[in-house]
Symmetry: C2
Subunit: 330 residues, 2 copies
Amino acid sequence: MICVAIDAMGGDFGCEPIIEGTIDALKEREFTAFLVGDQAQMEKFVPKEFINRVKFIQSNEIFEMKEGATNVLRHKESSIYKAVELVRSGECQAVVSAGHSGATMSLATLRVGRLKNVARPPIATLMPTSTGTRTLLLDVGANVDCKAEHIFQFGVMGEAYAKEIMGIKEPKIGILSNGEEDGKGNEVTKEAFKLLKKMKNFVGNAEGSQIFDGSMDVIVCDGFVGNIALKSSEGVAHAMNKLIKKEVKKSPLAIAGAVLMKKVFKIVRKNTDYDEYGGAPLLGVKNCVIISHGKSTPKAIKNAIFQALKFSNSNINSVISNELEKFKNE
Amino acid sequence: MICVAIDAMGGDFGCEPIIEGTIDALKEREFTAFLVGDQAQMEKFVPKEFINRVKFIQSNEIFEMKEGATNVLRHKESSIYKAVELVRSGECQAVVSAGHSGATMSLATLRVGRLKNVARPPIATLMPTSTGTRTLLLDVGANVDCKAEHIFQFGVMGEAYAKEIMGIKEPKIGILSNGEEDGKGNEVTKEAFKLLKKMKNFVGNAEGSQIFDGSMDVIVCDGFVGNIALKSSEGVAHAMNKLIKKEVKKSPLAIAGAVLMKKVFKIVRKNTDYDEYGGAPLLGVKNCVIISHGKSTPKAIKNAIFQALKFSNSNINSVISNELEKFKNE
């Protein structure tokens, strides 16, 4: 039985949506939930019939968002610290946190530890595409300044994720660049391009638009660029929705039209909805660490837990270490 | 009378849409159009009543998209070379090209020349926002590897554009980063942040989503990051449109809804349409150089010419040089 540690206090809306999501996950899957936080607060949201599938781990502190990430090492009573420690000690196989993402990364790297041969663990996130598939984009924020070698390793880790978790046999792997042509890129990506050519499934440079057109399965970049690509695209989608809503309100005909199109908008939302996968794994660390949005809904938390279970049941971590070992010896 | 040189051959669809756009511009504004290309081909598309407002400059060669940008210096008979030379010689005050953008940049920098105090000319583009305003994003591709000092200069040039062309008295200027907080950024942007603080209107880091929420008037970044932000956002908008269209087709009710919402979609498209401004200026070079998409429609070319006229009638270039001079002496 897989045990999942859940930082129940770290989210922006307190423990309620997080525990609700956990209960929803327990309804659909077999696992034990270790809820880390203030037991008195948490208990209220756990229905009696689930009480024996949950373990409460008391924590009296919440690590504040405004704190610097590495300060968390001095906050051993915080829910996030205690949740990650459950993975370190082996009591849990995975941790899900909607708290301070920098702190989660620091704890994952420093307390749980990197896999053999991994230099820098990246955050990998699934992006929706117009063809209905997903593109794995990494790194979206863990490593702001990267060397070519780090970006190359993201390629190896992304391939392992695509194969082991997404079930794609021959994933197409690209590197995010300012043009498709082979010569494009900045100093670091051009160097990473050369290293990535060692991978059989590397197909070359990918433009920003290719994140969303289904032409690639995995796209690698440094965490600075990845964060900007991610936030820019969320911004566009948000702006378009806002613009449509504003214009619809101006006309009764358009309101009628929007009602008739309700199902379409719902499907588009579902296709592009963050809640559908609910969290981003930090790849290249031992066991499984899933980082969720601070504003996660119960649905997002449920899906983040499903991701953690799938991850824990896969061979991804040994594949990552072995593949990196092979390239090291090349 | 302002004279605008137009590379009529460089676009992906031949000279027809470019000349059509030029004629449309001539209908609405006073200027002389220097059409550079094959005269026999071009003449067919110029109605008699406009013939005395147009000058044909014969060119027998088109500079190919597949060529390396700086090779254009050896192609003195190409339409793009001849069009830029008209600005160098002083016969024209502006040039609009839908051809090889790298070649246009090389010619602008090497043949027309940079303004005093400018280190690297950036491409600046107007991005739509959910509030109906536009955000000027620069650099979106001219300078792939930038130093902090270059990004600082983009801030000064962007402010000049916002004041002189967009008419914003106190433009809010931000630097694209992986988070809003002051400490965020990669090595180069953190250093650029320090330099930008010298500017009165600099407000700090901007996340990718802030390109589209109207909170900033000008956002600076290096050309690699800017290109990825631009292409990613175009990709999302395209993917969302495609997804909506696909889902609408599946249901007669939704088709009816889409018909009722037609006006809304049209407004959204107009708000986010590239054709509405038609081209991106290369800032920091002498006179005026406007770079248009290879796939420009007549409307895009018309608006690119309008931009060239507005630019040529403004004081932007002297403001850029003077402002940079002031900072140099600080």
